[in-house]
Assembly symmetry: C2
Homo-oligomer: 261 residues x 2
């Protein structure tokens, strides 16, 4: 990948490529995701490279981790029934969202919760699409750990360290339409910090922190899609991302820092 180095030593890629990984089979509980992904890529002569970021859709991570619940197995609580009735929601869906939540933030028209895994999202991320009829799919219990596990699996198969982002699509409180976000991150910093960098007029940029993990998730979405396309993973190549630890759990603002709660 061609790149330039500017005076302050920062390096921008000239070009970034985003490549969908097709041909990944329907994922079953306990599958080794890295194996499925590496095999599918291999069949298409797509080799992973140092510096690549592997983006994996939350849905297949959840499936591999057995995070699927059959509706018939769910006993709906009184509270879930109330929320479902006043909003016209599916009671089982509400029940599962409440079980996954550490707190309910809003329950009118939407059901926004903070999940036990630390996400703030609608219905605790519990979803019905792309699963068998009569079942629901839950978010991974610890998506950062899921990302780390995939990274370790890839390392043991290919002896290469990739960045890994587990992505999901979420709505936004003040912008319409959902966008992909990072719910799990391994092998890279969730953020890139422009602190100390200089702008074009040589003044220091202060407090400019970009959530590179969310941008990576967004960049991958166009080749992954949402519906029947079935492309649950992608490679982002050429992004000179910031190294770092901490995972996606650092992205969601704690309640005292939240600008609207």
């Amino acid at each position: 990948m061609l790149s330039i180095y500017t005076l302050d030593g920062f390096c921008l890629p000239r070009e970034m490529r985003v490549i969908g990984i097709r041909g990944i089979p329907l994922v079953q509980p306990a599958d080794n995701l890295a194996e499925l992904i590496v095999n599918a890529a291999g069949k298409r002569r797509l080799a992973f490279q140092k510096g690549d970021i592997l983006v994996v859709a939350q849905k297949i991570v959840s499936k591999a981790e057995g995070r699927i619940i059959k509706s018939d197995d769910v006993i709906v609580s009184e509270r879930a029934r109330e929320i479902a009735e006043k909003n016209g929601f599916n009671p089982v869906h509400v029940e599962l969202a409440l079980r996954e939540a550490s707190s309910v933030i809003r329950e009118e028209r939407v059901l926004i919760t903070e999940t036990k895994g630390g996400q703030v999202c609608n219905f605790s991320g519990v979803d019905r699409s792309n699963t068998e009829a009569g079942s629901f799919i839950l978010l991974p219990e610890n998506p950062d750990l899921s990302a780390q596990r995939i990274r370790n699996q890839i390392r043991s198969i290919l002896e290469i360290d990739l960045g890994v982002v587990v992505s999901d699509t979420q709505g936004r409180p003040w912008r319409r339409g959902s966008v992909a976000v990072a719910i799990g991150v391994a092998g890279l910093d969730a953020f890139k910090h422009n602190r100390g960098k200089r702008d074009l007029f040589d003044r220091t940029l202060k407090g400019s922190t970009v959530c590179q993990a969310d941008e990576i998730a967004c960049a991958a979405e166009p080749v992954m899609g949402q519906g029947a396309e079935g492309v649950p993973a992608a490679i982002v190549r050429g992004y000179r991302y910031s190294q770092g630890e901490g995972g996606a759990k650092l992205i969601v603002r704690p309640i005292d820092e939240d600008l609207f709660r």
Copy 2:
């Protein structure tokens, strides 16, 4: 660009490319942006193609439109002084943010406003970085119109219709770190609508609307950067985006739809 067609006729790109356009000179008021961009691309033998989306940083759009104010020319109101004092903000910065705002949403620790142009953002998007000392740069008055103007300029130079996105970086209320967003859109729908599409298990996806304009802005940010890199435009190639009208003004939720105000 290789692509696949799935059973429902939806087409996903196999690969998307994001290419930074280097060598654009410092922009002056009344510059023809399309000309500067096309010339810079041409010098690097980078040809625009049908289906390309041109992402342009808000900053150079504002500069070309003369949206720069010298601090010395600004008389600070009482209200601006109050807000500045209690938060430790620059009073001129606050004054300009108030002038650009149709309403102030929050003025503690941050200064979140709704701008007359329809954005909800910190300090009405008024910014000091990458401008000469002692001056501030304002958002374009009508960023959708700016995008349309660039699209028209490109058409008259190259006889090609590009999608155009004017991008800016914004903070988020419940996620840390800023990400790029689309504040102006022309030649494409701000959204892609998955309504009516089918998921892997043949159920119709309902209400799934992705803000493709914001995702495009995010995808371009890694090759554009924030600081001294000075790459204020990029091409996103291979995204099979939804056609449509309406502009970025449809993205910001009206107040009755906003989940937190």
